[in-house]
């Protein structure tokens, strides 16, 4: 087999080659010394590659072929909601009337964009069952931080400064990390035998110092917390507020609203629930929706509408926490999510959740005899199984995940949530057909068969990828985080 060319773009550099061209200057060619004095100029040029446009396009096309996206195949990555991203969203975001907007151009010239942000905020509020939305946060974790700062401001306006934030042991890692950045203290509450919040333990944690409880519902085990109304009552009674991590909102669109469950703040991951592409790790968007009581503390500006139908940014928000990012949010991502909601409508969104839950239950039914099921319950849009039965063959969840790559399926989330040993967290999403789901089931069944008959096959997996398993320990021991250049790389002969 011919070796793959794994040279970086820097290593493909060829002296004097270029892709770049400049428009005509048209103004006097002022000498560089007159423009920027030598003392402020850089001594050595940045060693960017010298390549032609063809070199470049082939290089990055080659890299794309080493990647796997939702468009490549099934991507049942739990808690990430890797649904198909409709192409019409991309067309909409690239319309010049959106993509060509400068954030400081006069509002009168951006009425369409403002209307879009205003409407999207209203729709998200309806889906959340709450009142006001800010679209500023750039991602889910950023929404968490924003929501926690809003909660702090709410308490402070009432002369209180509670600092404890209660988080279940099943929570996403971003929850405790966001709490610390917000200047609060995370306190873990254990799960009960059905996978929900342990009410007794919760009662024991509630006191005057509780600022909030953060919850994902359905949680990361894929089960709905049946005690949510009681949980909300207890927390509110103690003076705390409820934060809804919307990472799993794909399960409950139009079926159950966080605001109706008793939550005061909700973030949505538009890149999960509302079909905007993940981009290999972003950009996403993490708007938050809050109750009327929390609205005064939202970041500024908010989009408002005058009685005569004109939209404007309201910067005059004296109780606002301030600003959590520059400008107004990840507008291009908002356009995609708006397009998705317009396409589906209210009924369509409900159908999304129904199909997502049906698909997850279908895959669960197809594989439940292979693994251990930590909670004998109906799952929602995702489920968690434990691969511990494979341990007798010396096979781990990681091996199953790597072998799935050879079957053309993206592996599920592994080893999370941490309270389930050898966890495999599977979220098929609503956009997979029955045939797609059958392929995922068949792959898992075949792999579990291989675990018994030929476990070495799983340890060796993947064998059909551009690389075999990579030495992550070595990468961390001796970090090489950038291209090294030979000493003489600067000179062009």
């Amino acid at each position: 087999m011919v070796e793959l060319d794994r040279r970086t773009i820097f290593e493909k550099s060829c002296c004097g080659r270029r892709a770049f061209s400049l428009p005509a200057l048209g103004v006097p060619e002022a000498p560089l010394d007159d423009l920027v004095p030598a003392a402020l100029r850089r001594a050595a040029p940045a060693r960017l590659p010298e390549v032609s446009e063809v070199d470049l396009v082939r290089h990055f096309t080659g890299l794309s072929a080493l990647n796997f996206g939702v468009d490549t195949g099934s991507y049942p990555l739990g808690s990430c909601t890797m649904k198909y991203n409709p192409k019409v969203n991309e067309v909409a975001a690239r319309l010049e009337g959106f993509a060509g907007l400068h954030p400081y151009q006069p509002e009168a010239l951006a009425q369409g964009a403002l209307e879009l942000m205003f409407e999207l905020g209203q729709w998200l509020a309806e889906i959340a069952g709450l009142s006001r939305t800010t679209v500023q946060p750039a991602a889910g974790a950023h929404g968490e931080l924003t929501g926690l700062l809003v909660i702090r401001a709410y308490h402070e306006a009432r002369g209180r400064a509670p600092r404890k934030v209660i988080i279940p042991d099943t929570a996403h890692g971003t929850n405790p990390a966001s709490v610390v950045i917000a200047g609060c203290t995370p306190v873990a509450v254990p799960s009960d035998p059905r996978g929900g919040v342990d009410l007794e333990a919760l009662r024991g944690l509630l006191d005057d110092d509780v600022a909030a409880l953060m919850l994902t519902n359905p949680n990361t085990l894929g089960v709905f917390d049946e005690n949510i109304v009681e949980v909300a009552r207890l927390v509110h009674e103690a003076g705390g507020l409820l934060y809804y991590d919307g990472a799993n909102a794909n399960a409950v669109l139009g079926v159950s609203r966080p605001g109706d469950m008793g939550f005061d703040v909700v973030h949505f991951n538009l890149h999960k629930t509302f079909s905007t592409p993940h981009g290999g790790g972003g950009p996403g968007a993490g708007p938050i929706v809050v109750s009327e009581a929390l609205a005064p503390y939202l970041p500024a500006p908010l989009v408002e509408r005058t009685e005569d139908g004109r939209y404007f940014f309201d910067h005059d928000r004296p109780q606002s926490i301030g600003k959590v990012r520059t400008f107004y949010g990840n507008f291009g991502v908002l356009v995609r999510a708006y397009t998705y909601i317009v396409s589906l409508g209210g009924e369509g969104l409900r159908r999304v959740s129904e199909m997502a839950v049906l698909n997850a239950n279908y895959v669960l039914a197809g594989v439940r005899d292979l693994f251990e099921l930590p909670y004998e319950r109906r799952c929602m849009h995702e489920f968690v199984v434990s691969a511990t039965p494979l341990k007798e063959h010396g096979v781990r969840a990681l091996d199953v995940a790597k072998r799935l790559l050879d079957y053309g399926v993206h592996p599920p989330t592994t080893y999370f949530p941490q309270i389930v040993d050898e966890a495999l967290m599977i979220e098929p999403t609503e956009t997979e057909s029955r045939e797609d789901l059958d392929r995922v089931i068949a792959a898992l069944r075949a792999i579990v068969g291989e675990a018994a008959s030929d476990p070495q096959l799983l340890h060796d997996a993947p064998v059909s990828m551009p690389v075999r398993r990579l030495d992550e320990a070595e990468a961390a021991r001796h970090p090489v985080l950038r291209q090294r250049f030979p000493e003489d790389a600067e000179g062009c002969a």
Partner: protein, 447 residues
């Protein structure tokens, strides 16, 4: 399928949701639409905008209309990149991992730093993270901030770090709009975690990074530079001038303006700070057979491993924008970066000279600039901006919109911030100057 899962109906699938919180009535949202209707609706909204890109725009202040080469969108539109998640499975994600490694390399080259992460949301949040990093490293609580740092970045810093309590202290600018270094030295003290300046600064003035670095280091603080990456084709790399952390906005590297988002934050640090940098890092390694490959590394800094002890809560970042940036920088190449910088500097110098020749227009930014500068007008800048829209010009950013954010006695209503990219032609600039002249003359007559 219902039979396979043992459910009597779709409704039955949700039986574990208590009836009290089940929603039985439909969401109050519009009915769904077919694709032609969807596009018609979106086109109607987009047509209600007059984007800066359709006018002769001199807007900048962090977001610039540099040309985005056609091939950049062709690359980032490839759905193997666009529809992938964070590369947790490196064997099937070598594309985005290698591209990120190349991005990290390009940022290190531009900034003169040892380590770059995979990206941040934007310059404001990157600056907030830099301040938290500095606080953690120095165990100090004060941040000394030049008033030449973009007011929105400063506001994001103040908001996001409010919970942890670093106290930002503002150092005003001197005549000519560069940071007052004497005041900077006076402000930096034993409780200063970081000294922050922007290069070029908000008003386009070029800062003396070496002198500011010396002030920071003499106080035992870290030196943080907010740098425009395109300016670094001409200007000294902040790392060479002594920066410990470099952050900034990289929207201008191949990304659409898109109303200010998604842009691209970047962060680069010294080797010493490598284990404190927030966000994803890609490292080079080998596979079982000794072949080259790339992985996410040093993940014990991150929230999904370390939870409340993580260096940051960041998870999703701006990976696809970072891909656009490395494609764009490769398109510019080693010679293109300084050539583009010189081109912009020449055009900016030309326009600046012509504007300053108009009666009543005075310099606000003095000394050398890169592609942006501020002038003082004989009338409120917002009036000029609005008056010139019908003629097809976006005259610049009215500094008055940031009133109160530059320090005591800032009366900036008459300050206009003007940016000139390679997209502006001489004819456009000449027409613009003529339009400004006409407006000023008319105002003087009316007044």
């Amino acid at each position: 399928m219902l039979a396979a899962v043992g459910a009597a109906s779709v409704d039955d699938l949700f039986s574990e949701i208590p009836e009290a919180v089940r929603r039985r009535e439909p969401l109050a949202l519009p009915a769904g639409l077919a694709e032609p209707e969807v596009l018609a609706r979106l086109r109607r909204l987009a047509a209600a905008d007059t984007p800066a890109s359709a006018l002769v725009s001199f807007l900048g202040a962090g977001v610039y209309d540099h040309h985005v080469p056609s091939m950049v969108d062709a690359v980032v539109s490839r759905s193997e990149f666009a529809t992938a998640y964070t590369p947790y499975q490196p064997e099937r994600s070598q594309g985005v991992l290698q591209a990120t490694f190349e991005f990290q390399t390009a940022i290190c080259e531009l900034t003169g730093m040892a380590v770059s992460n995979a990206s941040m949301y934007d310059a404001g949040t990157a600056l907030a993270e830099a301040s938290l990093l500095a606080g953690g490293q120095t165990r100090r609580g004060g941040i000394v901030l030049s008033a030449g740092v973009h007011p929105e970045y400063r506001q994001v810093l103040a908001t996001e770090t409010a919970g942890q309590g670093p106290r930002p202290e503002l150092v005003e600018l001197k005549q000519g709009a560069a940071t007052d270094l004497e005041a900077l030295a006076a402000a930096a003290g034993p409780d200063t975690a970081a000294v922050v300046v922007q290069q070029p600064n908000f008003f386009g003035a070029l800062e003396d990074l070496g002198a500011a670095a010396a002030i920071a280091h003499a106080a035992g603080a870290l030196f943080v530079v907010v740098a425009d990456p395109l300016s670094l084709g001409l200007l000294e790399a902040p790392g060479v001038a002594g920066a410990d952390i470099v952050v900034g906005e990289a929207q201008l590297l191949g990304n659409a303006m898109s109303f200010g988002g998604p842009g691209l934050g970047y962060m680069a640090v010294t080797r010493k700070l490598m284990r404190r940098i927030p966000g994803r890092l890609v490292g080079e390694t080998v596979d079982l057979e000794g072949r080259r490959g790339f992985v996410l590394t040093l993940q014990t800094r991150e929230q999904h491993i370390r939870r409340e002890r993580a260096t940051s809560n960041i998870c999703s970042n701006h990976a696809l924008n970072a891909l656009a940036a490395v494609v764009y920088l490769s398109w510019l190449g080693k010679d293109g970066l300084p050539e583009l910088g010189l081109h912009c500097a020449r055009k900016a110098a030309y326009l600046r000279q012509r504007l300053l020749a108009l009666p009543g227009v005075a310099a606000f930014t003095e000394g050398p600039v890169f592609r942006e500068f501020a002038v003082r007008l004989p009338l409120p800048a917002i009036d000029l901006v609005e008056a010139l829209v019908p003629a097809g010009f976006l005259a610049g950013v009215d500094a008055g919109r940031f009133a109160g954010r530059f320090g005591d006695g800032d009366a900036l209503d008459d300050i206009l911030l003007v940016a000139v990219t390679e997209q502006r032609t001489r004819a456009e600039m000449d027409d613009f100057v003529a339009a400004v002249r006409r407006h000023l003359a008319a105002e003087v007559t009316d007044g």
